[in-house]
């Protein structure tokens, strides 16, 4: 697989240089790998900080800005960032109102954010933490590291970000973030593997005529390999997997997310099938978002994330946001 890169070792630094050049509204510390909204710290506002391995763009740095994240800490490709990054980010964005870390549930992210929280608290920053674990493909949490954090991260960051802009105190922001996570579930499908710069070839072998059900966003194989399916069939499987776990009683936010290598044309066609299943199951869609938001490099495939909405969550979802990748109302 060919990549549009210089050398694998500088991929993340190069991308940060590019972000710095493209987005004057962000402060990008290329050396230390911290992306901060330019006007941080915002007086009196709780700050939202996230981060994780690179390769999921626009997540997280593409979501830094008014109404969403105050800072993002990109790690190496598919490797969680190191504590120093989060400590530095927290120091840069804390106005005194405290910082919420949004952490996707992977061992590496959990451990590194945990160490960072300790160090930041030593420096006098109040830290709260929310774990995102929405992926229903990982079921048996007794025998696993627990459900993975995937598409719901976008919902958590958008909605918690809106809460910080409304002036909610740290505990409230944390509670809202946790509520979003608890009400969100995802399921992912791969039609092809992705290629990491370090490995330079696809992370797994997926023969023509087969797909992987229940994949995450790190190029790992899924829970099950099946004969290739139509968009209609994939939507049936993915949406039912999510609904069987979530059992929403009201309208949902829907994210039909591309893994990076699937054309938008196909994603919209897939969304039509997702909307159809939801209609058949009597689940109203309050808001829908279709696009490449939580990606896995150039992986072909998609995921479906549903979040059971309520009035407060919808209001916060609709609130203005201005970031590189998500923008409305501002």
């Amino acid at each position: 697989m060919k990549m549009l890169i210089n050398v694998p070792e500088t991929v993340v630094a190069d991308a940060l240089r590019g972000m710095a050049a493209a987005h004057p509204e962000l402060t990008v510390d290329v050396e230390r790998r911290v992306v901060v909204r330019r006007d941080a710290p915002v007086a009196g506002k709780v700050a939202l900080v996230s981060g994780g391995g690179s390769g999921h763009e626009p997540l997280h740095a593409g979501f830094v800005g008014p109404g969403m994240l105050d800072a993002a800490c990109p790690g190496e490709v598919f490797t969680s960032p190191v504590p120093d990054q989060m400590v530095r980010a927290a120091a840069a964005v804390d106005s005194g109102a405290g910082v919420l870390f949004v952490v996707k549930n992977y061992t590496g992210d959990v451990l590194n954010f945990e160490m960072a929280a300790e160090l930041a608290e030593d420096e006098g920053v109040r830290i709260a933490r929310v774990l995102v674990d929405d992926d229903v493909a990982v079921t048996d949490s007794l025998y696993t590291a627990g459900r993975r954090g995937t598409g719901a991260t976008l919902f958590v960051e958008k909605i918690a970000g809106a809460a910080t802009e409304e002036g909610a105190p740290l505990e409230r922001v944390e509670a809202v973030a946790r509520r979003v996570n608890e009400r969100s579930r995802s399921f992912g499908v791969a039609l092809g593997a992705c290629t990491t710069p370090a490995k330079g070839s696809p992370t797994f072998d997926l023969p023509p005529g087969e797909l992987e059900l229940g994949v995450g966003i790190h190029g790992e194989p899924g829970r099950e390999r099946r004969a290739m399916m139509t968009a209609r069939e994939i939507a049936d499987v993915a949406v039912e997997a999510v609904l069987d776990d979530l059992r929403p009683t009201g309208p949902v936010l829907a994210l039909v997310n591309g893994m990076g290598g699937t054309p938008l044309l196909e994603l919209y066609g897939f969304h039509a099938e997702v909307a159809r299943v939801l209609g058949e199951r009597g689940v109203p869609v309050a808001r829908a978002l279709v696009g490449n938001y939580v990606t896995s490099l150039d992986m072909a495939g998609c995921s479906v994330t549903l979040c059971e909405a309520d009035e407060e969550l919808l209001r916060l979802w609709d609130a203005p946001v201005r970031t590189a990748a998500l923008r409305w109302g501002l």
Binding site: P8, G53, G75, E76, V77, F78, T79, S80, P81, V82, P83, D84, Y106, T107, G108, L111, N112, E114, M115, A137, V138, D140, Y143, T144, A145, R148, T196, A198, K199, T203, F204, G216, H218, G219, E220, P221, R223
Partner: protein, 219 residues
């Protein structure tokens, strides 16, 4: 620097970590391949980045005691690796280093005990137990072996790593695969085996230099 027979000083631990760095460099692609099969294909790159930083740090600011060597190395790993293995290996070395205190010379047995504390800290931090198909499956047996000899440490760690092949992972990314994780060696266990292999090799080289009298050179 004078060396007491049967004890190991700052230099030895620096040489050990250099040997680990070389082994990681040499084996990085294999570690990444192992991680590609049941993880996310970065373990080799992660450790290479980490041990390159360790080596640089030890050169630039040479610590003056075995414990300080390990603590400095652990901090470097935490600050440069990321992922699951960064905090875990970092904690392993920091904790072992702290257990050694300021002593300028330590025995193999003493080091095995300190490393054992490190392994316990790793287990607490990551919440994994033996048999979960993680680095612990090589680290634990490795420490047990080390209590006997450097070469036993190497052998037991290697066996531990090989023994992860049939296991089903319960921690880390590999656990997402469920049954499909069986049939592959755990990358972290494989790198842990490298740690003990490098340790045995360092001890052997030391013995060959004639500075050692505890028979490790022949092991």
């Amino acid at each position: 620097m004078t060396e007491t027979a049967g004890t190991y000083g700052t230099e030895f631990f620096v040489r050990w970590l250099e040997a680990v760095a070389e082994a990681v460099e040499r084996e990085a692609d294999r570690l990444t391949e192992l991680d590609a099969a049941i993880g996310d294909a970065d373990h080799g790159a992660n450790l290479r980045r980490g041990f390159t930083a360790v080596r640089k740090a030890l050169e630039e600011e040479p610590p003056t005691a075995p414990g300080a060597v390990l603590v400095a190395a652990g901090k470097q790993l935490i600050s440069t690796v990321g992922g699951a293995s960064g905090p875990l290996y970092g904690t392993l070395l920091r904790r072992a280093g702290k257990a050694l205190g300021d002593d300028p010379q330590v025995t193999r047995e003493r080091f095995a005990g300190a490393l054992g504390e490190g392994v316990e800290a790793v287990s607490r931090l990551g919440g994994a137990a033996p048999g979960d198909k993680t680095m612990l499956d090589a680290l634990g047996p490795g420490v047990e072996g080390l209590k006997v000899s450097f070469s036993a440490g190497r052998d037991r760690a290697g066996e531990g790593a090989a023994g992860t092949v049939p296991l089903r992972a319960r921690k880390g990314r590999a656990s997402y695969l469920g049954e499909r994780s069986a049939g592959h060696e755990d990358p972290g266990a494989a790198s842990s085996a490298l740690l003990f292999a490098a340790l045995a090799a360092t001890a052997r080289a030391e013995a060959a230099d004639g500075t050692r009298t505890d028979g490790e050179g022949a092991a």
